[in-house]
Symmetry: C2
Subunit: 326 residues, 2 copies
């Protein structure tokens, strides 16, 4: 009786059969069930017969114009009734799930500077507005950021990166300059013009190699063929500022990490240093969760507004990180 191929196992429209059966069981009448289902009576009758034939059981006593559930029918109704209701109510339940967008998770990858200086304000606003979203902030740097985005380990990444693969989109949202920081009593603090040579002359304190700034600074010196003596490589911006204050040397830092409370002299750098941007990295073509979309709207409404090219679609524009934003 039972065939083997998977094809035959899923045969016919089992749901339609069960629906016909369940409604008939509830109404205690095939005709009424047909009316409720918007079908003809023979249609419902045949569905139930097919179900009985395929299951090899009798579901209804049929004594002329009356039908009654058999014990088997009762059993099946108990099993199938909830399932049919659940499936037929699926669109509504889905919509409900979808509409309370407060729920869910948001995974953000960010570098140290983003985490320290860019995100706090943003996250405060976002979490206030979406108190039930569970946010996870992953600390990654450089290429790991890109990898996390490519492999869907996070919804979005915040940071700046020099070279991006084709399938990652970058949207710059903040622009910052690199600044020279020196002790207040340093020679360069009052000097009119500052040249690359002044910087390369020594005493330079740089952030760790895996940060974009390190690579950027190195790139500039190489392009201008100017040697660059580095005194110290430190583990982060706050540490660099501290060592500059203490007179260990001069540093090049993103203006983003300068709050104005430091006891430092802050000077512009020569124009050869490009402006840096911080922005969002997304896997190209990624469908964003509602939470992620909300976050992006909050972060840069003019770029990620509801209903623009991001809406459920494939982001297409690319921007070089080395080109100033706007």
């Amino acid at each position: 009786m039972e065939e083997e191929s998977p094809r035959s196992y899923y045969r016919h429209n089992r749901l339609k059969q069960l629906r016909a059966f369940c409604h008939a069981a509830q109404e205690r009448s095939i005709s009424r069930a047909a009316k409720r289902l918007g079908l003809s009576q023979p249609s419902v009758s045949l569905q139930i017969q097919a179900l009985e034939r395929e299951l090899g059981i009798t579901l209804f006593e049929r004594r002329g114009p009356r039908i009654r559930l058999t014990p088997d029918g009762e059993t099946l109704y108990e099993l199938a009734g909830p399932l049919v209701e659940d499936i037929d109510g699926l669109p509504e339940r889905f919509a409900a799930h979808h509409s309370r967008q407060q729920l869910g998770r948001l995974d953000i990858a960010a570098g140290e500077s983003s985490s320290l200086y860019v995100l706090p304000e943003l996250l405060r606003a976002f979490m206030a507005r979406h108190p039930k979203v569970h946010v996870r902030l992953h600390n990654l740097t450089g290429q790991d950021l890109v990898t996390a985005v490519r492999q869907d380990q996070v919804d979005i990444a915040i940071g700046s990166s020099l070279d991006l693969p084709d399938d990652v989109v970058y949207k710059a949202t903040y622009t910052y300059n690199l600044k020279l920081i020196t002790p207040r009593d340093h020679m360069l603090a009052d000097q009119d013009e500052i040249t690359l040579n002044d910087l390369g002359a020594g005493e330079l304190i740089l952030p760790p190699r895996h940060l974009t700034t390190w690579r950027l600074v190195n790139l500039v010196f190489q392009q201008h063929d100017i040697p660059c003596k580095v005194r110290l490589e430190v583990g982060g911006w706050e540490i660099m500022k501290r060592y500059v204050e203490l007179g260990f040397g001069i540093g090049i830092a993103s203006s983003i990490c300068l709050t104005g409370e430091e006891r430092l002299a802050i000077r512009d750098l020569p124009d050869v240093f490009p402006r840096r941007t911080y922005g969002v990295m997304l896997r190209r073509g990624r469908f964003l969760s509602p939470q992620a979309r909300r976050f992006l709207e909050l972060m840069a409404p003019e770029v990620f507004s509801e209903g623009n090219e991001w809406e459920g679609g494939v982001p297409d524009a690319r921007e070089s990180v080395l080109v100033p934003a706007r």
Copy 2:
């Protein structure tokens, strides 16, 4: 976009769509899903497309030869996955439910005499064999017994009834005589022949009017046009026996309730009293639960054996209660 008629609401094969979707989500591949389902790749692809169209959402990112679930897709998979599995596993779960026949309920309606003298032995055996069946013994009499059977309030009824409607089948399983019971020192205890007139002469104690015996006795006296003086009507067999012992009169009782331990004289009645039968009442055409079928097999194997006309079918034979069984 959404139509209103119930017809359009249940349209297409929603289950097939969800099945295609869920398998594709698990396999992360439409082709592999198709293979598992025994379908062609375009078939599954089209099912998923239809589902997306009808739900108005995108379930998969499609970037060339790769697909990934969108957030909406993940949500739907969480909702629909279990449902699809449940429905596709329904035949197995049904079979499982069906095979552990120990479970379930058995509703028996019975009169006082059946409950007191016929059923205990039967129920002990049945309950020992089917320890998990929940048995409910309903105490009803006369027409209520019939009503309960007709309205499916009980699975079966045990008792004897004088007139049965067409849609109730009666199967006699035990035959009993009516007996005359008197005090041991009563005049009739030693009399050779006992006539109707002897009985009607007075001192008769009868059971309550709603019992079959009462109607039967009355019928016999009426048919023979013999007056019958009743001294006392009591509430049950045990009570009647007690009052006869105490010398209040003589009684007519079913032999079924005479255990032999009574301090009574027991005499046969004139032949004009028909033999009574106790038996099973069933609604004609009723599909019996496995429990009920087991009980009947136990009660009268020769009548209700596995695989005879009762097997899921319509019992057809009728028997008059006034015709001696066998």
